[in-house]
Point group: D3
């Protein structure tokens, strides 16, 4: 794949033809692999220059999707760290890293389910919020392993993704309750564990996720209920080490209520909130279960971007 | 009004012809006043016996409405406490107490607005929940007094009473934002005060109110935001001194989502929750502003039902 | 009963012939009643002087037993507050107050059981500590009312009063577990309510009780488990309003371990500790259920000793 | 004393000829007493009208001094509550109440010392802030009773009242340390009790005192150190029940630093702050030691101004 | 040592002939060293296969003892990480790693004493629980260094290991107090530091130790007392990164009380509890002092098992 | 530079001719670089021995300045970790590491400003304490980037370094308020972020800084205000991993008040306090923004001194 071809993948990402955090990341990894296969560069230095440029093109296609720059960084970090500086060795390292990334990404949700479900106990009542495939993988794996569990799902206004969740769980046969978001604290005493997903995770372990997550975490902490986050490692956000703030998206008011019906009212529709690390007990990744304070270590191991690195 | 007539009022309360906490209470007070006017008893003892019986009939009409037994207790307590034991004097005491109760009840919301608004400061952003006339009286009085305030109202799923609130406030011209219930913690840092109503208030200062209130109180405490409850004194619940637990009503599932569309899912619809007194800064009543720990004192002064009383 | 006879009762209290908080208090009340019956004083002033002196004699018999001065204070407060100042009226008031006190004291444990058990719910797991008849009355009444409950009792080293408790509960047929005192926090998550007794209660609502109580209260608060204290009103300690500190008794080391076997080791045996009011949800008395902050109000109503009183 | 003479006292208060919380209050009480002595009214109603007017004149002389309206309220409340409605009886009641108030006020600091020092234990290290005669009375009484104590005083920038305090304590021979205000948390672990005064106390138990007090209270709570407030009952603020907010005085910048030397800098000089009741263990008044939650009860007993009163 | 001989060591571990966390671990390390010495394999791959199999045999001998798999992992991790892939080099690496492990293990308790005692200050009162040689090494080293300290030891019901502790400390001449487990909170204000051992430590820094430890940690945190854990690095539990939950052993009821004497009573005897990392200030290992959040880093450095590793 | 010349640099450090944390550190790094340039050793082993000795000489010049041993450790760690063991290669490695250290140190404050200012938002009110060039770099960079911010600076008794801060900020045109240290809690509600410097940072993330810092951190946490520390990586304190306690300097009493004017008073002048990691949100270093729990990782990366290292 020439640089032109990398650009085409970038365009398909940019145009939303390729979408979903996992798919975007794997496409980018695949593009870098193809680049390596096709590359004709004879010196290591030139090869690295070209690979780096290809990575930049891909990242610029949709910089806000944390999984995309992470896929690129994952590969570049491993290529740069491989010992042999010859072009052929670097090409090989690129291909290996890209294949590793893709395989890991494909199996991540399943793997998170396997690891996380070990923390679910017979008889647990689990609360979840919104609709996260990683969180549901934990819950379903526990159920399929024969653990008698119950689930309470909040509806997740304004878009009611909780309704998708309860349908999905009821189809599995799991006893499931649906509540309005305001009921969280009232039912928390009967809950054993909270399991939610993550949109992205900052270097200090703070979790950005669907609006309402931080409120559930606060209620869980007050009631001494364990709070688990299930998230692929490519959700960890390296730039936060460098001071970048994760912007909270404001979405269209009409998702909450029709503005015409409420003249003079500002209808505020925040899509996400930030849960501080002190409210999180564990983060279940496909590579192991870590406390939120180890987020910076995950970022360093996966993407090589941390204290003491070059800028 | 004979006992028969008292029974008619009781029936109109029981049949929901008379409804609303304030109206029910005032009807009961009015019935006891009419009873006093019409009574022909010549001894104090007989008069008291009849009055007590009339009170019982009224209370039984709808015992779950805390304002109804409170109206009866308010009057009986004052009649029993009046010095003169002659029938005529007791009749007079009954009429005075009933008139006091009615007048106070009619003016309570206005009075709460006057007292509570003194605690609202120029520039405050106030959060409210559900649709409480006492809470809104505080907010509107502050606005009418010329204080530049803003309001954030949560929608209060499942019945969206928050939408009624924002319409009411926007009509006054108050800058008002509407949010989903899950946004509470995310916007709390910009809030100066929370003002909510109460369904009833227990002897230990715990406040029973619309589902979601306790969650907002928890978020307010975490952020060191003042949390005010606005409530008429007839909302205070004397029986809680005697061990009664305030039951939390579960309402119909279909208010949350259509059960047919969610086979196998238990849709849980709690109507109220309990906010513990340590999360409440002040309770604004029409008779003064008190900390929640003084709830038992309010009950004693208003209804004479407290430690050391007879059973 | 002449003053001489009052002195005899005082001696029987002092010599421990009469013992137990309830019995001591009732004997003192009975002695004052007999004094009133026998008194020949013709002026109110003289009668009061004599009564006051009789009270002092009784209190001095064992001033550390909070129930004894409380019995005396209960009666004197009511006699002084009665309107008529004639000797005959004061005698009558004395007799009435003494009889009220005795009757109330006899029925207090039963009454506490009735009020407190309303707060116990079907399916509750209740933790208790040491061996308190008031606390056990709450538990047994709930059980006899048909509520399916379980009890976890800590053994209460060094004197193992918890073993008396579990035998007593097992005899009733209540499912009961016995744990070592160190297991409290480990099992707290499965507990719904803690119910303990009290040795005495200070004016600020702090509860003095068997060593270990404050630790259980802290664990309960951490786990958001309700913490109830069951105590007769004569356990409330009026002097604490005047700055007196409740002394914590240190008991003999040999209750913990034989000092000879531990040369050079200071074996510390504290009998009681102080649970601060912020860890207590409710105090169940025979006259109603109050929050700990209302302790000063209980003291004022029962013993007339409070802010604004004379010294 | 005619109304004219009352006006003269009011003027001396207004012109600051009479100053200091205690002196102002006692002058007002004395003026009302003289008014009663001089009054020629023959009907109770007319007398009360005149007395009430005299009270208003005095209050208006300096309404911000909480002790002044409290002195007037203390007397009016007792006069209105006395049974006999004849002018002569009301005059007598006025004189009695005024004398009680004055005597109590004169002895209050000594009395606070006696009650509060009972809570100071041998070997205690006590922190104090600013220069409060009530707080120092507690400390000095404990010392004079032979308790070996140490004191740490913060300097209380910007006016260094802590320096007055340490001189006063060192003169008594009490081992005393002086620290800068920033050292409070660093030394708190070695402190056993904090004792401070109060400028005024709100109905919910919040204490308004010298800037820095709330910060010390927060540090004390973090370290589980007892926090005592020593204050005369006339410091309790009845209007706070009615929604009044205690205004925090901003004082002249030059007390902190010379504004000319800091062009462009806003030098903010807050004189007081508010300590929330949850950080206060006990309030020592001359009439007893109460928890902060009982503040509203103190106000009711002393000034008759509370829930259920008339407006 | 042939594989047969490794099996013999495994059997001696399995049969409890070899016991104690340290001894088991060192025996396993010794067996792997002997295996390396005796091995005749000529290719690196074959050697590694055999070594890995030998490791598995050892681990299976008693998988619940965390020190055993850690010893094996420690060696395998270093062998695999050594550069040279020849059989002879790998044998050398095995021998080195085994000797390092053994030497470190033997000196660990002494080393922990040296590091930990630096944090003990002249005049400290130290609380300890149960009987941990690592914790006591810290205390004794401080004492031998001439620091005047005092120790308070809880008795650790049901097996009274605290009595062993106080005897051991009193023999050293250290002023030592023995208390019942319920006294912990009552005496905590006079404590400067808590030092306890650990049975094992999870990847998130949670410490599994003798029942009662978590309760002491909670009391320490409430009183702002430092809480130290002293533990050898082989106590850190790598599998917890992969979702394994540390099981809490339930021991025989008769240790608490004779079941025959308590018919109908369930005597619950939990051996251990879990102290959450937020209650722990520092963990003293023989390789340095780390905060609990660094537990995952210790696991990674010692056993190579962490985020990003292969599975 | 011969060893003699290294000694001369050491002497200039020791005599305070060279002073300031940054300058001392850079002089030491420069001395080691010169040593490498001048060294004539032909074997790697001898060279390392000499370099190590030179390092020791420098460290001994002023061991309490954390930046000095850190400079030495930074270089030695990199030299020892470089692959090639020949003298010439080690010399080259020494020169590179020294140059890296110096360059990084020179640019650190600017770099901290760039990274930290990304976390400052338009409209923020920022509190700072004392006078830290790293903290002010964050504030000034945000201002120069065009963000409308306000600053509140505490005066930092006893030496009023806060006055230097406000002058510096006012000169930039930044709206700046000066407060006394006791005002911190009173104004905290209007603060968005606190930014302070650090004297040194322990392995567990605790920050040693100017007296008053921990108190501000506590107030910030109570009010949910973000608390940032700005510090160069050479402020991190490796020895704390080995149990060393950071000593808190007591400075001369006369800085607080003239001792002659306060006979009998102990004027205590602590220069620094310790802020626990749980009160700190982020530490901004020139190499990235890290949570305080990652301090041990910074120490390991920068100075190679951590768990598992040799001793």
């Amino acid at each position: 794949m020439s640089v032109e071809e990398v650009k085409q993948v970038a365009e398909r990402i940019s145009s939303m033809e390729i979408r979903g955090a996992g798919k975007i990341a794997r496409s980018a990894a695949g593009a870098l692999k193809s680049y390596a296969v096709a590359s004709k560069e004879t010196t290591g230095a030139k090869y690295l220059e070209g690979l780096s440029k290809a990575g930049e093109i891909l990242i610029c296609a949709r910089p806000s999707a944390v999984s995309l720059p992470n896929a690129v960084r994952y590969i570049l970090y491993r290529v740069e760290g491989s010992g042999d500086r010859k072009a052929s060795a670097l090409r090989k390292a690129t291909i290996n890293a890209a294949e590793d990334f893709i395989e890991n990404s494909v199996k991540a949700v399943e793997r998170i389910g396997i690891l996380g479900s070990k923390r679910i106990e017979e008889g647990d009542t689990i609360m979840t919020h919104c609709n996260s495939s990683a969180a549901l993988s934990v819950i379903k794996t526990a159920w399929r392993d024969g653990k008698e569990i119950k689930v309470i799902a909040s509806e997740a206004r304004p878009r009611y993704q909780g309704q998708i969740t309860v349908r999905e769980l009821a189809k599995e046969g799991i006893p499931t309750s649906l509540i309005v978001d305001s009921s969280v604290r009232a039912v928390m005493k009967g809950v054993d564990k909270v399991v939610v997903g993550a949109d992205s995770i900052a270097a200090n372990g703070a979790v950005i996720n669907k609006i309402g997550t931080s409120q559930i975490a606060l209620c869980a902490q007050e009631a001494r209920v364990l709070f688990f986050v299930a998230a692929e490692t490519y959700k960890f956000h390296p730039e936060t080490c460098l001071g970048e703030i994760v912007e909270i998206e404001k979405r269209d008011s009409s998702e909450v209520a029709s503005p015409e019906e409420f003249p003079g009212v500002d209808i505020l529709n925040l899509a996400f909130d930030v849960t501080p690390p002190e409210y999180i007990d564990l983060i279940v990744t496909e590579k192991g279960i870590v406390p939120p304070q180890a987020a910076i270590m995950v970022i360093k191991e996966e993407f090589g971007w941390a204290v003491g690195g070059k800028w």
